[in-house]
């Protein structure tokens, strides 16, 4: 590939460049990782390898040579033979990428028939073989299922088997495991690797996750704002990054093997929050107007107990469906638990926020995952910050504005943002405003519910540092919820591991991650440490330093 340029048509009709002058070459059997943060153009570049752009996009320049032939010069039939035949594509989200009204078997068989030009029965046999090749259990039964009836991992296997239908030479994978849980991710990665060995295919692997790329790819290509800033052998790039951006990117990766400067607990004293035997069940949807919401659903939480000491950060880690966000909602007072007790600062805590004293409401604050939707788009930042200041501290007018400006300053945001609307800010800035709003109440406990999972790595590192410094200054305790062990390792002194609504393991973070006692925790730790071998062993303190520390 040489000098490739891709542009997207903007609303005003002009072309905005998405990929600028990208060039690389790939030998047969090699695997190349495309890494970069959101909006860097890596997915666009990957799709261009199949001569395809998303609606509105145009390949503006350059040539894409596949075995010496420029695919931009192919006609319609030629490009269809290419797609799925010589170059296959594995998309990011397996659920939305399978046609919802077609049985999964027939979708794979369709790809088989297109590229092998065979009959229906033969295609069915080939599909069953492909299902077996991707380790799907009971292929014959799965053949007739619909996509929504499969688990996430199964769906991704189906999508991979469809990509293999045409026996491609080159497979382009666009963040194939991002939508999956860590434990499922490992299995899928394992599968991709074994298939690569078996089919001798060349891989282009797009990911934002440097660990995954380190594990899967011989070579890596780093993209920033549509440009390729660095490429080379994975081990070389990771250990000795030449470009400043690559260096920052690698430094920002949260790692569990680095000594974290977690916020330490205040000496002794009673825990600020104590949770005992917490239980919760999802009410099933009411089927009939007169029926009560029956609680035959599986418990979201059962017998969960933990305590947060004043001033400390407790990490709550688990995969999706582990009940960690439910626990956050209960402690915040959004939903009432089905059982168990909550104690806050030594006193019983009423279940719902509306039943709590105003002072208690002030002392417990929560920050949500999605920064944009946690700020009202119709209010200026000033109004967003002024509301808790007025409600909890009686500040109004110039005094409130002054305090709001100070809060922004503490989060390294320009006080001029006070007059902006949330949409004018970037995701990281929005999340910092949400943190400022929580600290505006001057709380004793902050609940952080996956607050960085919607952010890019470099932004994540900055937000975490700011959170820690604010916390140190104010002495607030923090319940930090995340699926990412690396993030937990950076902020939390102690950790609670949740799975299926029960506590699997509790202890000091470093200890738990170094010597997990529970087999499930061990799986999580194994998954999180993959790819570490090729990462540089910087003798380091905090991974996220690089000038973000105030």
């Amino acid at each position: 590939m040489k000098g490739l340029g891709v542009g997207y048509r903007r609303p005003d009709g002009r072309l905005g460049p998405a990929v600028i002058d990208a060039a690389f070459s790939l030998a047969e059997g090699e695997s190349l990782g495309l890494v970069g943060e959101s909006g860097s153009g890596k997915s666009t570049l990957a799709r261009a390898l199949l001569g395809y752009c998303r609606p509105g996009g145009v390949i503006t320049s350059g040539e894409i040579l596949l075995e010496g032939e420029d695919i931009r010069k192919l006609d319609g039939a030629g490009i269809r033979r290419l797609r799925g035949g010589r170059v296959a594509f594995v998309p990011q989200n397996p659920l939305s990428s399978l046609t919802p009204h077609l049985r999964v078997g027939s979708q794979v068989a369709e790809a088989v028939r297109i590229h092998r030009r065979c009959g229906a029965e033969e295609a069915r046999q080939a599909t069953l073989e492909l299902f077996a090749a991707v380790n799907l259990p009971d292929p014959a039964a799965l053949y007739d299922r619909f996509p929504h009836e499969l688990s996430g991992g199964q769906r991704q296997r189906v999508v991979i088997s469809a990509a293999l239908a045409g026996e491609p030479r080159l497979v382009v994978l666009d963040e194939p495991t991002t939508a999956l849980d860590k434990t499922t991710e490992i299995q899928v990665l394992e599968l991709v690797r074994s298939l690569r060995d078996r089919f001798k295919a060349t891989l282009v692997y797009v990911s934002h996750d440097l660990n995954v790329v380190a594990e899967m790819c011989d070579r890596v290509l780093v993209m920033l704002q549509g440009r390729v800033v660095e490429q080379g052998a994975t081990a070389r790039v990771y250990r000795a990054p030449a470009h400043d951006y690559t260096r920052r990117l690698i430094a920002a990766v949260p790692r569990i093997d680095r000594a974290a400067q977690a916020v330490a607990p205040a000496a002794g004293g009673e825990p600020i929050l104590a949770v005992a035997d917490l239980a919760y069940r999802y009410a099933t949807r009411r089927r009939w107007p007169w029926s009560r919401g029956a609680d035959d659903g599986r418990p979201a939480l059962a017998g969960v107990s933990f305590a947060v000491a004043a001033g400390e950060t407790l990490g709550l880690v688990g995969e999706s469906g582990s009940g960690k966000s439910t626990a956050a909602a209960i402690i915040a007072g959004l939903i009432a638990p089905a059982g168990g007790s909550l104690r806050f600062a030594g006193k019983p805590l009423p279940p719902l926020a509306s039943a709590r004293e105003p002072a208690t409401r002030r002392r417990i604050q929560i920050i949500f995952q999605d920064p944009l939707s946690s700020l009202n788009p119709r209010h200026r930042i000033e109004a967003i910050l002024a509301r808790p200041l007025a409600l909890f501290h009686g500040l109004a007018g110039a005094a409130a504005r002054k305090r709001a400006g100070e809060l922004l300053g503490q989060l390294q945001l320009d006080p001029a943002f006070l007059d902006c609307y949330p949409r004018q800010l970037s995701g990281g800035q929005q999340q910092r405003v949400a943190i400022a709003r929580a600290f505006a109440a001057d709380p004793d406990l902050i609940i952080c519910d996956e607050i960085t999972s919607a952010l890019d790595v470099s932004v994540q590192a900055q937000v975490l540092e700011l959170l820690k410094s604010l916390q140190r200054r104010s002495g607030a305790a923090c319940l930090f919820i995340s699926h990412d062990l690396g993030v937990i390792a950076q902020v939390a002194a102690r950790v609670v591991v949740l799975r299926d609504g029960t506590v699997r393991e509790t202890g000091a973070t470093a200890e738990v991650f170094r010597r997990p006692a529970d087999p499930y925790t061990r799986t999580l730790v194994d998954a999180a440490t993959r790819g570490y071998a090729s990462l540089p062993d910087l003798p380091g303190t905090s991974a996220a330093a690089n000038g973000t520390e105030p």
Binding site: G333, L334, S354, P358, R361, I366, F368, S374, N376, P377
Partner: protein
């Protein structure tokens, strides 16, 4: 309102806004613009257009231009009043249904289902049979016809808000239901409400003129385009302008309202097609 200026500069949007503006001016100022009294018998029967009476006269000898200019006044007044009532009440009920849920939500949703089962014309006919065709009844009926639809749309929009972080945050601050609705939810549903108003206006104008045409809406001698079409149908073969002129007036008003609604929706980044229901 955050308006995207690009969407308003499209020709269709400009056409729509211009048509609505022209009709508004005519409706407001027709008593001063119209050359004759719209109900006075001033000329011969069915005089053709041209001459003293620019657009001719109707079967009773009334000046047709004056009647056309006055023809939108009553219809716009009735529909505007009814639709404002429907949109205001429907928005509040829709947000309340979304926020409080439970029995209130169930009751309002069943109400919508019932209204959905009865076409507008039948709904109006039903009540007119019992209550007659007075001005008050017509305004109330227009309000009732569009009330459930507005509830449904606004409720759907409000439902997208209730689980968002800023609403949860307000809840956790201990804000009252009124404050949450007024400060957090309402401002984020207003765009939908504006578009809904424009769409319902176009429907209401169509519905009322259709009812008048069928003899079940405004009654003579009120100058009204729907009535004028039905009065002119008898002379369709030899005086087609008696039907064509009022038809053009109604159509341009409704086209203007629809293009306007579309433009407004586009400028606000919404999709108007979801709100368009099968006419009258």
């Amino acid at each position: 309102m955050r308006i995207d200026p690009f969407a308003l500069r499209k020709p269709a949007a400009l056409l729509g806004l211009a048509l609505v503006a022209i009709h508004l001016v005519l409706a407001l100022f027709s008593p001063w613009i119209a050359p004759f009294d719209p109900t006075e018998l001033v000329g011969g029967r069915v005089d053709p257009p041209g001459g003293e009476f620019l657009l001719g006269t109707d079967a009773l000898g009334r000046d047709y231009l004056s009647r056309l200019l006055h023809g939108g006044r009553m219809a716009l007044f009735v529909t505007f009043t009814g639709v404002v009532a429907a949109v205001t009440a429907g928005s509040l009920a829709g947000i309340a249904a979304a926020w409080f849920g439970g029995t209130l939500d169930d009751v309002l949703m069943r109400l919508c289902d019932v209204k959905l089962a009865l076409p507008g014309i039948l709904f109006v006919s039903l009540f007119i049979t019992g209550f007659g065709e007075s001005f008050g009844v017509l305004v109330t009926l227009i309000g009732l016809v569009y009330f459930p639809g507005v509830i449904r749309i606004v409720r759907a929009q409000a439902l997208t808000q209730v689980n968002l972080g800023y609403v949860k945050a307000a809840q956790l601050r201990g804000e009252s239901a009124f404050s949450i609705i007024a400060r957090e939810i309402l401002p984020n549903t207003l765009d939908v409400v504006y578009v809904e108003f424009a769409i319902r206006m176009s429907h209401a104008v169509l519905l009322l003129s259709t009812m008048s045409y069928l003899g079940l809406g405004l009654s003579p001698p009120t100058p009204d385009w729907g009535l004028m079409v039905s009065e002119g149908v008898g002379q369709l073969a030899f005086a087609p302008w008696l039907v064509l002129f009022p038809a053009v007036f109604i159509s341009t008003l409704v086209i203007g309202l629809n293009f306007g609604a579309e433009a407004l929706a586009g400028a606000l980044g919404l999709d108007a097609s979801r709100g368009h229901v099968g006419g009258t």
